[in-house]
Symmetry: D2
């Protein structure tokens, strides 16, 4: 079709069948692939190896739910205000999946890619991590992946991911760099180490398994959607969104301008 | 253009000019119309009369801001989590502009149109309102436009809209029906009257000024966007979104299943 | 904690661990549950049986992707306009997961529940379906779950779901009603049968497996999020969003008012 | 209230009144302020001068609508898919108000602030603009505010804003820098000048009128919401969203992997 220059390699629906990534949806994929395997196929065009499947499941489970997060609060308030629109409430929740709460994994992936380039150019992982950490300190920028408001001194999810990556033999250069970054960051902090949070181990394992750094952020977004849907099912069954909104409102005092606004 | 059956009457950009509703944007509209007048032109295809302009301004001002509403809370939390995306936070806030908080005006417009049909078929406004209110009571449905969590026994915005509509001589059949609905609802409630909230007077004035009932909900959505932008500017200058999220979270206790989830 | 009346049963983060549905996230769930099993646990509080797991995977795979749907188009345009916000583009796409495209499954679940009540009151599935279909015809309402813009005369996904449900022995009363509805709808249509689309088989299998009708819509929303993420990864790698927007724009002719807007 | 450290200066609802920025909403603001004046008060805490009001109206009118933009297309498709949720469709449209289409005004404001600092440090506007433009060229970054897909060689809205700013005597240092940037960018481009689009004049006028650079992006977001509401009212009256989606879909060819996905 000469006049159509734009192309997609994902899927096409025909009257009698649906083709996805070159495969027949109903006769081949449905019933054969798990949702996680299908997500991998959709995202990358390839079915995962068993290792990729295992860690994709692991990471999706690790990041999906973490208590009454601000995104869950915002979604529940939105459903309370518009009970007919489940998708509106999900969308409101996903909009908070930003760098502060969830997007750090993408920044960590970029950091690990940068460090790995130094390693491939001859540096040791320790040197690469140390150099980059020093750079951030000088520029007074915060190194992504460190610090957590709840988990101290360690983030149990981060530790478990690293443990399983070592056990299953998938820990490669990016996991090695993750350990090096932790050492570099905490070298000078004595007994007040910064928590290595879940973001860098998550990114490292994905990179070591061959995922592109661009796809890293897709994991927390899909995972959190599952968590949001659980909160919204609970909200539908017993609404507490407005009660939370009231508590939030009461935490803030109105202070009009001193001159009465005149 | 025979092959294009779909049409729009709103606007078109050309290399050297922009046409909106048949007018030249730069030589005619910019600098001549206020934003409110332009909004009217965009929405209806016509420039407003002075009365329509006055009440459109009045209603937009009346509904734009009302304290730390759940929509403002949700938007501020979303900005705190993703500070780079002002539009994401606005979108999260708008998603809560549903029937519970803001959308009642649309339901009120439908109710007034239904009642006015009865009036045109011969009923008095009092009879029409009484019949419909009785119907809702029988079906145990809540009549839209009544009750307010904060404003008791009256909503000062509702009263002010009705007052100005009377003063300016624009109160027509739909405003008359609004008074009739209030009487019908409160006839049997003795000294515990339900608050007539802002939604029905807003809808009534719009209908009496010739707006279609379909456009009624556009007013609170545009107005609240202004309020949201104010909250988000304040949030940018001094973030309190996460503090509100914490208060919301603390208002909720985690109660695991009694059997330990086993 | 007497002062906190609101409760959640989903999860809680502590400094050294995260508890989800009464289980320890890192020592118990991570690495043991697949994402689909975890989604079931999050949504319902229970781990799925093998049958529930199999069909949840099946349905998520069936509904996740279906070509360049309007929701994918909207999401890709949004990413083209704001490349930094993956979550904003996902949210824009999810907002179109409404009744017209995806939400029919919820309406189908309600229909099946209503029909099953008739069956439990003594009607045969055929009678129950016939009665309800006749009711819809009289009220000139469209029965949810029938008709499809692309798939004619059958939706291959619907057929495959019914086939696998029969094979695996999970087809219960709601699947029986689905067949009855198809017969009732097409009895009078001769050789122009309406397509039974994916929505009713999806809802029927979920109900037969013990899912609540409230959770039915969560499946297409989670599934489509995976599809959206695939489209957005492709859009990032090779943007076509603006090209699609141009094609959409060119399909519409601007027709100013005949009087030149005067 | 010692325990509440978070404060807001915007508004508070009381049972019998609503206070906004230290003023009484119903007795003072409603009926006195236009929506534009109220937006200024909400955003900045101050009522506008007549000049500020005039240019705020001008800029809101200038940027609200510009044909069948991708954001309007995305919003109309979303409404077609979920006709009950006007706010969902508005949100989908606003999410595309990113740097590529609309957010450039914020980047332009930052650029003008940076240049004005050089001017205050002794440089002439011409030198400041030339230096910064040269810097961007060296780093191969695109200077924000230049180029337009439709308007060539000039953007009529940009020219009209500059014209009215000169006429009304509000053109100050930031407008002067805007002219200097245009000259610096086009000095070496001969007869292929880049279009100065609407973003920099908009930002310049706002800065010259005393608005903070942080508030600049609020203008296009509020303005576009009005445009979106017009498109959605038209979509409700005569749906073309799916027709546009079809045209977009047809512009893209599905190209499965060469190996059949095997």
């Amino acid at each position: 079709m000469a006049e159509r220059e734009a192309t997609t390699g994902i899927s096409q629906a025909y009257p009698d069948r649906v083709e996805v990534r070159g495969r027949d949806l109903t006769s081949d994929l449905m019933g054969r692939l798990s949702f996680t395997e299908y997500f991998h196929l959709l995202l990358t065009g390839r079915e995962p190896t068993e290792e990729q499947r295992y860690f994709l499941d692991l990471l999706l489970v690790a990041i999906a739910e973490h208590g009454m997060m601000p995104t869950n609060v915002a979604a529940r308030m939105t459903l309370a205000a518009e009970p007919r629109s489940l998708q509106g409430a999900v969308a409101a929740g996903i909009l908070g999946a930003g760098p502060v709460l969830l997007g750090t994994s993408e920044a960590c992936a970029a950091l690990l890619v940068e460090a790995q380039e130094k390693v491939e150019a001859g540096a040791s992982p320790e040197e690469a991590a140390k150099d980059i950490a020093a750079e951030y300190r000088e520029e007074k920028r915060r190194l992504p992946g460190f610090g957590h408001p709840v988990h101290k001194p360690t983030d149990p999810r981060a530790e478990r991911i690293l443990e399983l990556a070592a056990e299953q033999g998938v820990a490669g250069p990016h996991v090695a760099l993750t350990h090096a970054f932790r050492d570099a960051v905490n070298a000078s902090r004595g007994d007040r180490p910064l928590t290595l949070n879940i973001s860098m181990p998550m990114a490292a394992v994905m990179l070591d398994l061959g995922f592109g750094s661009d796809t890293v952020k897709s994991i927390p977004i899909l995972a959190r959607t599952a968590g949001l849907l659980a909160h919204l099912a609970e909200e539908r069954a017993g609404p507490i969104g407005f009660e939370m909104a009231r508590a939030a409102e009461h935490a803030v005092a109105y202070e009009p301008p001193a001159d009465g606004g005149g």
